[in-house]
């Protein structure tokens, strides 16, 4: 499994709720239908108020984001239980979120879907980085390195969560580890 990710970050602040990750008006899209899964990606993070976030996460007319790494403050993903939220991010090609803390259901949905790695970083990276800064994240070492400065920050190791996301989510993991029977 890929353990090192390098790319520009997109930085958001505290309490980004699921309405900002994927606005409710797009919940008519069903994530298990391929076309609608792609559409969800094109709307990822489009609920952020433009007055606070001038740069869009996904450019107009695109389905993927230029930012594979999202950096956030406290309580990322609070609000609704909609799985559309981690799915929209995953569909937009987001690989991982580095947040100071996560809301419970969002964290669980990241793992269950295997869409992205939710990494908890006690350091307030959202105060230290700005959108476009390039970092290298090493999941094995649980470190983030800022490419321009060489500064290194640590995050909480993913532990049991890692193999589930690696496997592509709860079902794949449960099958590969023999917890549930292989698909008929």
């Amino acid at each position: 499994m890929q353990s090192v990710f390098t790319g520009p970050v997109y930085v958001v602040r505290d309490n980004i709720d699921t309405d900002q990750i994927i606005p409710a008006q797009y919940l008519n899209l069903i994530p298990t239908i391929a076309e609608e899964y792609d559409k969800l990606g094109s709307y990822a993070m489009c609920g952020l108020p433009e007055s606070l976030y001038a740069t869009r996460y996904v450019k107009e007319g695109k389905v993927d984001s230029d930012y594979p790494i999202l950096v956030a403050g406290r309580n990322f993903g609070c609000g609704s239980s909609r799985e559309h939220a981690p799915i929209a991010l995953g569909s937009a090609d987001c690989k991982l979120v580095l947040a100071e803390s996560f809301a419970r259901i969002f964290f669980r949905n990241c793992v269950a879907t295997g869409e992205l790695y939710p990494c908890e970083c006690p350091e307030r990276l959202c105060d230290l980085l700005k959108t476009g800064d390039v970092v290298t994240v090493d999941l094995d070492a649980a470190t983030v390195t800022v490419v321009a400065t060489g500064k290194v920050y640590s995050f909480k190791p993913l532990g049991d969560v890692r193999p589930v996301v690696d496997a592509g989510g709860l079902f794949n993991f449960a099958r590969s580890s023999g917890m549930i029977a292989a698909q008929a």
Binding site: N28, T32, N75, C78, S81, S101, A103, R108, A112
Partner: protein, 456 residues
């Protein structure tokens, strides 16, 4: 063990569990709706096969309620997907929008947004419909694909929101792996003063711990004050546990719980046996807070999150464009009665929308009489735009043609439960959360107003 731990231990077949343990628990009910149901069904079929059967068709409850009264074709399609699945699986508890089991749901905008457009089985907002239709029982485990599933904690039940993948797993196996949460303890004492409502209690508690203060924790409400709260009040409080990040809420079982649950299960012919959990000396909490209900004042959570607690009387400077009453937490019959008590014989000065949570509540309001008018007529006479189309409506924004949705940046005071940016529509709009009484008083002045100034 705390009440939450006791229910989880029982559902896991263990004599005891501790906070932090990971246990497989068996579900008593799995609820899903039109927004997450189709995705859950998609996961279920992808993982268990096209011909798979749900683990127990008596335990799956399907309630379309979110995007119903909209001309958006995908939303209408999603209700049809639920109907097809119910037919294929033989699921008895499906509260369809239409009566024809082989029909298609198409909303007709020409009939207007306020006139009833549903059949006799439709039940309205899932969390309010679940207890009304006899699906909440003490001591049981309820999973729902919706974060406000925690509302059923009012009935001494472990109830929590889950995502589609987890729900797909439950649909196939009837089980889910859960971490036992730590419990925070809120002891309630005394009784609320006139003009102060259950919404003020929970806004007070969230303000106390911060809106991520209960992340991954259970909130237990008990103490002598609970006897002074109706089941509706307890539902309002439990509903917003998630607004502090909580996994679930939990109330003690008492005579009121029993009367409500027994009546509703009998009325609807649902399973009427259950085993409540009771407190004992072994419970351990990670946090303790005593709330003297008699000291609480009308409270508001300001934009942009439910933890921004202020007193209504200190916010007279905030000028409003709109008022809204509705949702699972704030659209119950008792909510509308308090709302009407403030508005009766007066006129609102800002656009005001009223959306009852369920058809039964519409019926209550259209039949309850105060003098020679029904409560519904009193509200309409006061200038409130009331819709018979019970559902989630603008509580979560929804498609652009949704009743009451904010399609431009404005300030709204609302009896709903969430006020993150964009929650009720336009992403630059602002929502202030308050009790139905405070929403009513504010609708009369166009500014945030303490309802005690208008208490009849």
């Amino acid at each position: 063990m705390t009440l939450t731990e006791k229910i989880m231990a029982r559902a896991a077949g263990k004599s005891r569990v501790e906070a932090g343990d990971n246990v497989w628990v068996s579900a008593d009910v799995l609820m899903t709706h039109d927004v997450c149901g189709p995705g859950t069904i998609g996961v279920f079929k992808r993982e268990f096969g096209q011909n798979a059967k749900v683990w127990d068709r008596q335990k799956v409850v399907i309630i379309p309620d979110h995007y119903i009264f909209t001309a958006d074709s995908k939303s209408n399609r999603n209700v049809d997907i639920l109907r097809d699945f119910v037919k294929e699986q033989g699921i008895p508890y499906f509260y369809d929008v239409i009566d024809d089991p082989s029909g298609h749901w198409v909303f007709d905008p020409a009939k207007g947004l306020t006139n009833r457009q549903y059949g006799s089985n439709y039940a309205g907002v899932c969390h309010t419909a679940l207890p009304q239709k006899g699906h909440t029982r003490p001591g049981e485990i309820l999973f729902g694909t919706d974060s406000h599933t925690c509302m059923a904690g009012a009935f001494n039940q472990f109830a929590t929101g889950i995502g589609n993948t987890d729900a797909g797993f439950v649909m196939g196996t009837g089980k889910l792996l859960l971490k036992v949460p730590e419990t925070m303890h809120f002891r309630l004492e005394g009784a609320l003063q006139p003009g102060v409502m259950a919404k003020d209690v929970i806004l007070h508690c969230i303000g106390e711990i911060g809106f991520d203060g209960a992340t991954y924790r259970a909130l237990q409400f008990d103490g002598p004050g609970v006897a002074n709260l109706t089941m509706d009040d307890r539902m309002t409080i439990a509903n917003m546990a998630i607004e502090a990040g909580g996994k679930n809420a939990m109330f003690e079982f008492d005579a009121q719980t029993k009367a409500f649950v027994d009546y509703r299960c009998k009325l609807n012919g649902t399973k009427a046996t259950y085993e409540p959990v009771e407190r004992d000396a072994t419970e351990k909490f990670v946090y303790e807070h005593v709330v003297d209900l008699s000291k609480l004042e009308p409270t508001v959570a300001c934009h942009p999150d439910p933890g921004q607690r202020k007193r209504a009387k200190d916010l007279g400077e905030v000028k409003l464009d709109r008022a809204y009453i509705g949702s699972c937490t704030g659209g119950k019959t008792s909510d509308f009665l308090e709302f009407a008590r403030v508005l009766r014989g007066k006129q609102v000065v800002i656009t005001t929308f009223g959306v009852p949570a369920t058809p039964e509540i519409v019926h209550d309001l259209q039949t309850a009489r105060w003098g020679d008018q029904t409560v519904w007529q009193i509200l309409v006479a006061a200038g409130v735009q009331m819709t018979e189309n019970a559902g989630c409506a603008a509580c979560l924004g929804g498609p652009v043609d949704t009743f009451g949705r904010m399609n431009s940046p404005m300030k709204c005071i609302s009896a709903t439960n969430r006020n993150f940016p964009g929650r009720m529509g336009h992403k630059e709009s602002q929502v202030f959360l308050a009790s139905p009484a405070t929403v009513a008083a504010s609708a009369l002045t166009g500014r945030i107003t303490d309802p005690r100034d208008y208490w009849n």
